[in-house]
């Protein structure tokens, strides 16, 4: 049996390393920043080991849940707020994802961030993020979860704006923060709504209430939608997706860890964690499903035309997250409509979504690390200035290729299994979404291999003088990539799905289903197309662009979403509308009040300050006269 302290230690270790780095190493050993790297890695490594222990314990535990005591956090009057950790299958899987990816990424960062002036700061933030993320995963009450939710938000802000001297980085950080804040607002509102109606923050109790129908329909719906809005914000789903591509201004390992593997997946995790609640409200879960599907395809389309490798990856991340949402939603809809019996359905949905999250974490992280490695060599992210890196950096190429195949869902790589699962479920329960999913499969394969061919195939298109300067990245960067590549191949073979309660799939038996073939064919087609266009140039990209000019502009301008937000929402409605009103109010009423008070004070003090003669003796005199007065009072009335 695993003691609770271990679970807490998993959370606290990274915080500890954060504290050590920022309060001891940065101030005192700043001349030897590598120490901070070691500290961070040591701490996260330890938590990885502990997480593995937790996983084993969970597997052994009956019902895959470890009972953990709650601690009273604070008591307001007689209502006490308890916080605690839940270690169940879902949490355990997430723990493994977070710790392992984080560990690998930080090892990688040793190479990538080498010589950066903010080296220590970087690792401090990374540790802080990892700690918050682990806390988010393990939290068992909404308050606690929200705490860490904001924590990871903060870390993502800090890390996107890590190179704050670059104005666009700073802008991107602010943008990310504000956009996610919109979602978080919904989340917070939902939490408060739930507390108002149930009087508890504990997720388990909330689920029981929800399933028992004790929670009123509309309340439940609105709460669920609110929570989902939070998820939308974090996972950059459809309306709030705009921050993630810009977030690529941060260091690439950050993108790999936060904006591909873990934090953005937090939204999915949240939905999965609250799945029973979603599943018991049709409207909510339908929203989830639709948003997921729309996001999947719509992000993919934008991914088609980006020239910045990281942006392509960013869009693919969005679309993959949409995918997961779609999977959750599809099953959830079925459960809500009663087409699927309850607890199996719940299990299944979580399994489907989280399984893909699990695989996606690895290959997407790997893709980002690959991009980082490429950037390390070429110093740019623009694919038009790359090409021909296959020879220069074979390791990067191979790992990147594996990741691409995996994300494209090629059998028997990891991506295939989870994707196939989602397709199957959506096919059964939500045909329309299934169509979207299929298209997305094709698009995914296409843009991923567009990237592969543009980056590694053909000739080097960068400045010729540094073509010979191209070099493979150092071992400390290659090693994590290789490990991730192994995971990207093999993570699908792990029985995560059954562990989470979904169906198992036999290794070859999967090929029997037509679904699998459909997706495989589509993916293969996409790959071929990409090969034709970008490697062999049978079809010129130019002509295509001209052919689909309107679409191209639509995609490349990202559906004018940024402009929409910037100009319409922010400028027109907020700044010129609402804020103007506020400003007037502020000017007239508030300032008037304040100035009035201040004026009065000034006038009064002009008189009163005469008392302050600065003569110490006068004050002393006053004191003793006061004493005498008191004594006199005692004599008279005492």
């Amino acid at each position: 049996m695993m003691p609770t302290e271990v679970a807490l230690a998993i959370i606290l270790l990274p915080f500890l390393s954060f504290a050590i780095i920022s309060f001891i190493i940065r101030p005192f050993f700043n001349n030897r920043p590598q120490i901070s790297g070691y500290v961070a890695i040591a701490s996260i490594g330890t938590s990885l080991i502990l997480s593995l222990w937790a996983l084993v314990e969970v597997i052994k535990a009956p019902g895959h849940v470890l009972p953990m005591p709650d601690y009273q956090w604070l008591a307001i009057g007689d209502t006490a707020i308890y916080i605690g950790v839940t270690v169940d299958a879902l949490a355990a899987v997430m723990l493994i994802v977070v710790t392992s990816v984080s560990l690998l990424v930080q090892i990688y960062s040793q190479g990538y961030m080498h010589g950066d002036p903010g080296y220590s700061r970087y690792f401090a933030f990374m540790s802080l993020f990892t700690g918050s993320m682990l806390g988010l995963v393990l939290a068992d009450s909404l308050v606690f979860l929200y705490l860490f939710w904001e924590g990871v938000g903060l870390c993502s802000y800090l890390l996107i704006g890590f190179w704050f001297h670059k104005p666009e980085a700073a802008r991107a950080a602010t943008k990310a923060f504000l956009v996610t804040r919109i979602g978080d607002f919904g989340f917070l509102a939902a939490i408060l709504l739930l507390y108002a109606n149930t009087g508890t923050f504990d997720i388990g109790e909330l689920h029981e209430l929800a399933l028992a129908g004790a929670l009123g329909g509309t309340v439940l719906t609105w709460a669920a939608i609110g929570i989902f809005s939070g998820a939308v914000g974090k996972s950059a789903q459809f309306p709030l997706h705009t921050w993630l591509p810009d977030a690529m201004e941060g260091p690439t390992p950050v993108s790999a860890l936060i904006h591909a593997a873990t934090m953005v997946a937090a939204g999915v995790y949240l939905v999965a964690r609250m799945f029973p609640m979603f599943a018991s409200s049709t409207e909510a879960i339908t929203t989830v499903a639709i948003i997921g599907g729309v996001t999947a395809i719509f992000a993919a389309t934008m991914g088609l035309v980006m020239n910045d490798i990281k942006r392509v990856l960013a869009y693919s991340t969005i679309s993959q997250l949409g995918y997961m949402m779609l999977g959750l939603g599809a099953v959830g809809v079925a459960v809500a409509s009663g087409a699927l019996d309850l607890e199996h359905g719940l299990m299944l949905g979580v399994a489907v979504g989280i399984f893909h999250l699990f695989n996606h974490a690895f290959f997407k992280a790997l893709l980002f690390l690959g991009a980082g490695s490429v950037n390390h060599a070429t110093g740019t992210f623009d694919m038009r200035l790359m090409g021909g890196l296959r020879k220069a950096m074979p390791w990067t190429y191979v790992t990147f290729l594996i990741a691409s195949l995996s994300i494209a869902g090629i059998w028997p790589l990891a991506g295939f299994w989870s994707k196939e699962g989602i397709l199957a479920e959506s096919f059964h329960y939500a045909p329309i979404l299934f169509a979207l999913a299929l298209i997305t499969v094709f698009l995914t394969a296409f843009y991923m291999f567009r990237v592969v061919f543009m980056t590694f195939g053909g000739e080097y298109r960068g400045h010729s003088q540094d073509s010979h300067g191209l070099h493979e990245s150092p071992l400390v960067m290659i090693l994590p990539m290789v490990l991730l590549a192994i995971l990207a191949v093999a993570s699908g073979w792990l029985p995560i799905s059954e562990f989470l309660g979904g169906e198992s799939h036999s290794f070859f038996g999967a090929l029997a289903s037509p679904m699998a073939w459909a997706s495989l064919v589509l993916a293969g087609f996409g790959i071929l197309l990409a090969y034709a266009i970008y490697s062999k140039k049978w079809i010129s990209a130019e002509s295509l662009r001209r052919a689909f000019a309107p679409l191209y502009t639509l995609f490349s301008r990202k559906y004018w979403f940024d402009e929409l937000y910037e100009n319409v929402f922010v400028m027109r409605i907020l700044i010129n509308g609402l804020f103007a009103l506020f400003h007037k109010f502020d000017d007239r009423v508030v300032d008037g009040l304040v100035n009035g008070v201040a004026g009065g004070t000034i006038v009064a003090s002009k008189r009163i300050r005469r008392v302050q003669t600065g003569q110490l003796q006068l004050y002393g005199m006053a004191i003793f006269i006061g004493i005498l007065a008191i004594v006199a009072v005692f004599f008279i009335f005492g």
Partner: protein, 103 residues
């Protein structure tokens, strides 16, 4: 006529009042400091007198006197340091001319 507690208390009262007058009326900062010392000594006398006549068993009275002495020493050290530095900067220790802290 034996000497009792009241005698000492009244003595300390007189001493205290003299010190009080000096502290309030004098203009030379050092004299004010000296008057404060007088007051402290008056307090010491009454403390010891109380110890002697009211509670000889427990030494609290004397302990307090010791602490008063410590405080007096500290106070004098810092006070004189302040006075001297004021004198350095303003060429006077007349408290009526040292009124930078007025309005």
């Amino acid at each position: 006529m034996a000497v009792g507690l009241e005698h000492f208390l009244i003595l300390s009262a007189i001493l205290f009042s003299i010190g009080l007058y000096g502290a309030l009326a004098k203009r030379n900062a050092i004299v004010i400091l000296m008057s404060v010392e007088l007051m402290l000594n008056a307090v010491n006398i009454s403390l010891v007198a109380f110890w002697r006549y009211v509670a000889p068993a427990l030494m609290t009275g004397q302990v307090f006197v010791i602490f008063v002495m410590v405080l007096a020493a500290a106070e004098v050290v810092v006070g004189l340091a302040i006075i001297i530095s004021i004198y350095r900067s303003r060429e006077t220790v007349d408290v009526e001319q040292i009124d930078l802290m007025k309005w």
